[in-house]
């Protein structure tokens, strides 16, 4: 495990010497900014309308956290669904096409050095994206009075969702030589996770065996929503740990598989 840092550092630097990192950062900032402004505008309209109708009860329920920040975080998580596979698509695939896989596997590194190093490199980049996200609700603290705890737990949710996506992206990249395929596999897996609640709602596969509930548990969104509500529950945190851990285990197996062929 001594070399996790070296591998992570190289991964992160490689993102920044190519246009990918700058492209993703710019696109992400623009999109996040756009969705934030749209959110603020919608919130503003809402407040005005409720004031017009003198619906004071509803006005009392309306707050920045549930009606602006949570929606914003939710939208950002969807943007990450598109961007994170773009960051991770080449993380293992390019090692195979460059032939550098041979360098890594013949160096005194363990497979975990490689897998964790690469995941942490990607996760660090995702963390940077989430830091950009944090800037927007921070503005609201200047002009309004949102709840700090809820804002932070939602942000933690975005971060965990991003890391989970990165772990899935790493796995997708580890089972192919092609970056495009790496992107597509990650994207399809992430879409499946997104659609799981809808599938379990169909109810066709039986509340009898609890399959619906299991599918629902697997969906990232379910646990993210809890964090958006400000509920930091161990079981939701455990979900993210389990997802990231199992994806990294699969990635390790995929990287190691060159050795058993």
């Amino acid at each position: 495990m001594r070399h996790v840092g070296s591998v992570a550092g190289r991964e992160l630097r490689s993102l920044f010497v190519s246009p990918v990192a700058y492209g993703v950062l710019s696109l992400f900032s623009v999109l996040a900014g756009l969705f934030f402004i749209l959110g603020v505008a919608a919130f503003d309209t809402w407040v005005r309308q409720l004031m017009q109708f003198q619906a004071f009860d509803q006005l009392k329920d309306l707050n920045l956290n549930d009606h602006l920040i949570a929606n914003f975080y939710d939208t950002v998580s969807v943007v990450l669904l598109f961007l994170v596979p773009g960051i991770t698509m080449g993380i293992f695939a390019s090692e195979k096409t460059n032939g550098t896989q041979e360098l890594l596997l013949t160096s005194p590194l363990t497979i975990w050095d490689i897998v964790l190093g690469k995941f942490l490199g990607a996760a660090a980049f995702v963390t940077l994206l989430v830091a950009i996200v944090a800037a927007f609700p921070a503005l609201l603290f200047v002009y309004g009075d949102p709840e700090l705890g809820k804002t932070a737990s939602g942000l933690l949710g975005v971060l965990l969702v991003g890391w989970t996506y990165a772990a899935i992206g790493c796995f997708a990249s580890s089972i192919t030589r092609s970056q495009v395929v790496g992107f597509l596999i990650a994207f399809v897996l992430l879409l499946c996770l997104l659609l799981l609640p809808a599938i379990s709602d169909l109810g066709v596969m039986g509340d009898t065996v609890g399959l619906g509930a299991s599918l629902r548990w697997l969906a990232t969104g379910e646990h993210f929503q809890q964090l958006l509500k400000g509920l930091v529950d161990t079981s939701d945190l455990a979900y993210f740990a389990v997802m990231i851990g199992s994806m990294l285990l699969l990635t390790k197996a995929a990287v190691e598989s060159v050795r058993w062929r």
Binding site: H3, S6, S14, V17, N98, T100, S107, R259, R261
Partner: protein
């Protein structure tokens, strides 16, 4: 330095390497000869720890590849057939990274980097991005990568393939120098090739591999004794028939 014991690699039904054993002493330069697909690369990959042997084992600088894989890998510098380069990195940052993952202590990294740049004549391109370098330079960066941690054992898979005659000469000179220990420690070198001239130019010993089996293991002197050419040996060992032209013009012991 290198001790291969009955190395065997099976890919499904295909027996790629069949019980190959040999020992290479310190400072020796051994040429791995054999036609394409003979099992040269697979044998090298087993020695470097890239793929584990199905059967048999090997010791590199006294470390068993199964029992002490990290120590064994640390003792090897490996240049695969395609140099393992990150095209987006600069020469210096790439070699610094390799030095790091090859366990060169922090305090010695700068010195190791400078020495590798010097030996492979890369000083002029040190700040260049690898992707913009010519094939000859990339091959040299590949070689620099293999020697940056000053390993006792060097395993080079077709180190001169695709280079022009001048570059080939430079790389050969460098390999000779590494083996003789001219600048720094003495290295033990295994290199694979199918160019006979390369073998006679740098190797003192030849191991011929055909269809996964070791068929010849002798010094260059023994093999060329009596005026026989390596070409005829190669042709005979790989096809079972001695090349007619050579055997007609140079019968055994004629010269």
């Amino acid at each position: 330095m290198i001790e291969a014991r009955a190395l065997t690699k099976r890919y499904g039904e295909v027996l790629a390497v069949d019980s190959v054993s040999f020992t290479v002493e310190r400072g020796e330069v051994v040429g791995f000869l054999g036609p394409n697909g003979a099992g040269k690369t697979t044998t090298m990959r087993m020695l470097t720890g890239f793929v584990p042997p199905t059967d048999g084992s090997a010791r590199i600088a006294g470390h068993d590849i199964f029992e002490e894989p990290l120590e064994a890998r640390r003792a090897v510098g490996y240049l695969p057939e395609t140099p393992p380069l990150y095209p987006e990195m600069t020469v210096t940052s790439y070699l610094r990274y390799v030095a790091k993952i090859k366990d060169v202590p922090r305090a010695k990294r700068k010195e190791a980097l400078e020495r590798a740049l010097e030996r492979c004549a890369l000083k002029d391109v040190r700040t260049r991005v690898i992707g913009t370098l010519s094939k000859g330079f990339r091959q040299r960066v590949g070689l620099a990568q293999a020697i940056v941690h000053d390993p006792p054992v060097l395993i080079l898979d077709e180190p001169t393939v695709g280079l022009d005659p001048v570059q080939i000469g430079e790389i050969r000179g460098l390999i000779r120098e590494l083996a003789s220990g001219g600048s720094g420690g003495q290295h033990t070198v295994i290199l694979s090739t199918h160019i006979m001239a390369e073998v006679s130019a740098i190797c003192r010993r030849v191991i011929l591999i055909n269809e996964g089996r070791k068929t010849v293991d002798a010094t260059l002197e023994e093999l060329t004794r009596g005026g026989r050419s390596l070409e005829s040996l190669f042709a005979r060992e790989t096809s079972g028939v001695e090349a007619t032209a050579t055997s007609a013009s140079a019968p055994e012991g004629a010269r």
